[in-house]
Symmetry: C2
Subunit: 358 residues, 2 copies
Amino acid sequence: MIHREKTRRIMIGNIPVGGGAPVIVQSMTTTHTKDVNATVRQIKRLERSGCEIVRVAVPDIESARAVAKIRTAVNIPVVADIHYNYKLGIEAVKSGADALRINPGNIGSRGGLKSLIKEAMIRKIPVRVGVNAGSLEEDILFKYACTPSADALVESAIRNVRLLEDMGFRDIKVSLKSSDVLTTVEAYRKVASNLDYPLHLGVTEAGTLLRGAIKSSIGIGILLAEGIGDTIRVSLTADPVEEVKAAYMILSSLNLRKRGITLISCPSCGRSEIDLIRITKEFEKKMNAVTTPLTVAIMGCVVNGPGEAREADVGVAGGKGVAVLFRKGKLIKKIKEKEMVHVLIHEVMELSKKKGEE
Amino acid sequence: MIHREKTRRIMIGNIPVGGGAPVIVQSMTTTHTKDVNATVRQIKRLERSGCEIVRVAVPDIESARAVAKIRTAVNIPVVADIHYNYKLGIEAVKSGADALRINPGNIGSRGGLKSLIKEAMIRKIPVRVGVNAGSLEEDILFKYACTPSADALVESAIRNVRLLEDMGFRDIKVSLKSSDVLTTVEAYRKVASNLDYPLHLGVTEAGTLLRGAIKSSIGIGILLAEGIGDTIRVSLTADPVEEVKAAYMILSSLNLRKRGITLISCPSCGRSEIDLIRITKEFEKKMNAVTTPLTVAIMGCVVNGPGEAREADVGVAGGKGVAVLFRKGKLIKKIKEKEMVHVLIHEVMELSKKKGEE
């Protein structure tokens, strides 16, 4: 069991972040925000995949205004991502954004920031201080020999948090993202021991689906396992729905949250007498829509098969053309290889229905 | 920088494992080992992808004998995976296997084990004590309330290591795999503080490509970041070549080893004016065969784009239909969106050639 660090709690719309709340899953749209239809469509897909907070880019005034229409059309809180121009932030807040993300490295004059924070305070809108290694303040970069090190990221975060606190604002969330995993981890550890605001975890610009998921899993995984982090975003160059799926896989690997099938399947070595890769793929594809948390073991042979299959909610352990089915640790029956996918789906549906009724 | 735990060094064929050697990448074949042609073909593919040690299942005497032909046809050391029957191990050693993996939970009588270890000792063949949560010894499982906990895994490992030591054998490597990430991590931490043998890391039965890579990345990643682990195997229900690719992605994320392109690419939000997902995918596909370690940044907009592109060996930061090309931190020129993939490939090829000449 992971012992989670205690942070303050903020509310992004109706979603609690920090203070012992479950680790919240976020993503960001890839559509042009001013294209309301496309953006709403994408957010609806994200909602269905389990996304709990969504961020939209606000690079211009049309996008800031579009937030109003988007917000009323979707069910999850919408965060406006603001760079360079504080006025876009004010407009987004007025349009009903549930939170703001500002990048301290580029938000501009202190006066502008002050008007933005004033607006956020009136409407009780939290602000994420979102530090990013690719866009640190020049004086900080200069101080750290032009290297966006963990210390540089932390200095930027703390400076900007203090700035907001001096304005009487404490409705804050913090992130410090680097595309380097170890820098990211070090930065979050340091900031966690210095600030008690909730932390939004992410490895930035992590890359394409597999590559990015691996990098994010290590960075986010190390921190979550240490109890650091209140909300996560897996940053992938891919359909944002994949970000949400990957996020739940990370949380489920650490037993922090479960959604849908936790699959235990062996790599199918020379011992396996059944076509495990095909069976597992087929099963996984059909089970994509299941949200009930269930553990399913699909094992190729008798070495670890019965052991794992017995520990799962549903399990099959393959033999020569046949497999043995386990339900909640009990041996149920022998089944044929060609029935496996069908039987597994049936079992999952039954258990899922039962859990729903409970 | 990661400070790696000091372990003894063993040699698997010509590959050093432990004692400060680089973290070695392993995989396991999915073919029937007695099918020599198919197995050799798969191992050749694994070699090309960077696999440094390969394991083959030895479930029968034909497989044990096949090791002789396989071994002479491939360039990397071959480890024979033995369960239930020590005689298969003896036959594999006689056939030239470079190492053995035995599962203490099922190797059978002490007398049989003794003859196997004697054979390994004569031929200076290392043995991995490969504990697996799905197949623990019954008395240990019973002691731990039938739960394959970290303590149960550690007790099995230490008991069996002592058994081999009592036979005068010290050419040992240890693994303790569970399909639960936190159990795996805890078990390896405990064993690392109790034994100084090199450790083979892995999360067992991790699942299909993405799911399994995420689970493995967290487990293996946490341990490697703490300096634990001398060789890794990413266990995936997928083509084993994917296991090798994922392994290098994990090692590269932690700056432990680099092979091929380290890709930094942003998730492409509403700010991006170029089709980043398509461009990145296309580039990645074409760059699959590059083995020279290079960092490439493909960024969608001006927020973090120039910052990241400047830090990489080659970088592009997109704008409205155009992008800016950076080489080793220097701004080179503006390029059109449709030229991006082509220009990036050209740059990578040039740098790769230069590094090869150095």
